[in-house]
Amino acid sequence: MTEKQKPLLQVRDLRTYFNVEGQTAKAVDGVSFDIRENEVFGLVGESGSGKSVTALSVLRLIPNPPGDIVGGAIHFRGESLLDLPWAEMRKIRGNRISMIFQEPMTALNPVFTIGFQLIEGIRLHTGCSKDEAEVKAAEMLDLVGIPDGLRRLSDYPHQFSGGMRQRAMIAMALSLTPNLLIADEPTTALDVTIQSQILELMLEMRTKTDGASILLITHDLAVVAETCQRVAVMYGGKIQEISEVIPLFEDPKHPYTQGLLKSLPRPDQGKVRRLPTIPGIVPSILHMPPGCKFADRCPERFERCDREEPELREIEPGRFCRCHLHDEEGRS
């Protein structure tokens, strides 16, 4: 993980806006980050902070209307995704970048068999025969821990449990050895016991296949600690802090990150006590404050926070933070 590594995915100043009943909702407003080769990159934040929209923007899967990517650039292996014609974009989707969604219950088409939906993607990108694709699909199911894969291919999604569906989704996403796997809260909708299984599976699959990078979206910092190398913290459509995982946990810079960490249950504390949550609520996306988005809930808030939005600046090598506390003027 040296600085020389060329980023696999480079997102710069991404802006994705939605039109909600005539008003503009800036769901993602100037997001920049890099994902390197062979890296697990975490994106954390409360629900509604724009994580999913960021991920969907990378695949250009923003529903239009009401949404639109209004600015920024996304480079994937040197190619500018936002400038690609749709036909070229489709060749990347599912093939070089694939995605796993939060809701395994609805993400699969209920009227087609698992096999149909797996084979469809394989054949689309490889152009192989139906039989070959079927063999490959069955193999993938076995690989993700669905035994008797060949027989299960003819099952419908509703015959699978939630965890199994998510496994099938992973099989689908990894069947073509993509360079980047985007996992949008892959475990949120699952039982706690299944959650770690699925996470382990994802990491395991990464080594079994060609070592894809993973963009792991979650609202759970514990998951990040277990799996990621670097992490970005999002709030109000903006990235507030980017850091390697260990420094972030040891010394969070942004008050929001500090708040998130405080709300984590600690294994060393023995008894489960009531989680301290960050007081206040996420501001409505239509009525964002003009200054710092987190100012309303920030324990460190001072006058400048309401007036002026801080910049995301590199405060240590490889460490970025968007907070007035960490610029030259500081609290003055």
Binding site: K91, S98, M99, L108, V111, E120, G121, H125, Y156, M169
Partner: protein, 362 residues
């Protein structure tokens, strides 16, 4: 699969129960309602009794019914017996004293006898099937052919000028009942009021159709049939046109917004495949399920349209029987209508189970 079969067997077994409840209610209403056939029959009997005393004949005056009709009604409704027994006789599970004490009723295919038609009720009803099915079937197929593509197109062009314009047509179609449309069409294209006397004013075929057919004038016959079909067909289509189009449109719109559509796009599938394979397959489910409901219309026809266009089908039979107070035929038609509806419900369930793999009935 096994569970499903037993589910349908159980549903089918519910049909007789439902059937018996409804027909019993209707039978009871026929027997008890003021002004019903029995009331009329009783009035006639009183009159007849007075008439005999006065030396008059059996024929009652004016608006009432003849002695024969009264007799047949009395027989039909088993007037001399209490309602439940009479109903059992009608159903065919109690000896019919008027038929030599034999079991004879609906269950045995005996729907009674219509004096109006001088024929058994069952024959009268069945003789009307072909005409009603002809229009019902053609109308239904035609509306599928129009509504499904139109609905898809409207969904894909949602909130464009095309959508708005066709919506106006669709809502107009929804607000004008089929028989009113038939009236307007007859006025415009069936009379010379606007110089466009192109189609006949009604009827299933021309009077001399059978003669021409025997003479081998097939071309003329086909043309004549098409001519007579046009106006009623449009009226029949109107009945389901708007609902089906909107159902198709909304159903497709809902599915296009579903998560699995996003998954399909994320796989890199082209738009066409996502829309026409993934979303469409799902959105056709509610349309297919409608088949069960249509079966009733298919057989029973629509008395409004059949009356307007003087088409001699089941609907018109019901209407004329009502005007003539031909109660045996009325009860027969009602019975048929109910059975068709009940079977239609089951057919809908079967179709749903066939087209939607999620559905498993226990």
């Amino acid at each position: 699969m096994h569970g499903m079969t037993s589910y349908f067997i159980r549903r089918l077994m519910l049909v007789p129960v439902t059937f018996i409840i409804i027909t019993f209610m209707i039978y009871a209403v026929f027997r008890m309602a003021p002004g019903g056939p029995i009331e009329q029959a009783r009035v006639q009997m009183l009159k007849a009794a007075a008439g005999e005393a006065g030396g008059g004949g059996g024929e009652s005056g004016g608006t009432g019914m003849t002695e024969e009709e009264r007799k047949s009604l009395e027989e039909y409704y088993q007037l001399d017996k209490p309602i439940p027994i009479g109903y059992l006789v009608w159903l065919g599970f109690w000896p019919n004293s008027h038929k030599g004490g034999k079991l004879s009723g609906v269950f045995w295919g005996d729907f009674g006898y219509s004096n109006e038609h001088s024929a058994p009720v069952l024959d009268t009803i069945i003789s009307k099937f072909p005409v009603s099915i002809y229009f019902g079937l053609i109308g239904y197929i035609a509306s599928w052919l129009v509504c499904i593509p139109l609905g898809i197109f409207k969904a894909l062009k949602h909130r464009t000028h095309f959508d708005t314009l066709t919506s106006i047509v669709v809502f107009l179609g929804y607000s004008v009942p089929g028989f009113v449309a038939a009236l307007v069409l007859m006025l415009t294209f069936g009379t010379n009021n606007f110089g466009m006397d192109w189609f006949p004013l009604g009827g299933f075929r021309s009077e001399n159709w059978n003669v021409m057919w025997d003479q081998g004038e097939f071309w003329w016959c086909i043309k004549d049939q098409v001519h007579h079909t046009f106006i009623p067909l449009i009226a029949y289509m109107m009945a389901s046109f708007a609902t089906m189009t909107i159902l198709m449109k909304n159903s497709l719109l809902d599915n296009l917004g579903a998560d699995y559509v996003r998954t399909a796009f994320a796989k890199g599938l082209p738009e066409r495949r996502v829309i026409f394979i993934h979303a469409l397959r799902n959105s056709l489910i509610p349309i297919c399920v409608g088949i069960g409901g249509a079966i009733g219309l298919l057989f029973a026809g629509s008395f409004l349209i059949e009356k307007t266009c003087t088409i001699d089908g089941m609907g018109l039979l019901g209407y004329t029987s009502l005007l003539k107070r031909d109660y045996p035929v009325l009860l027969g038609i009602l019975t048929f209508g109910i059975v068709l509806r009940l079977l239609g419900n089951i057919l809908s369930d079967i179709v749903l189970a066939l087209v939607d793999p999620r559905v498993r009935f226990q």
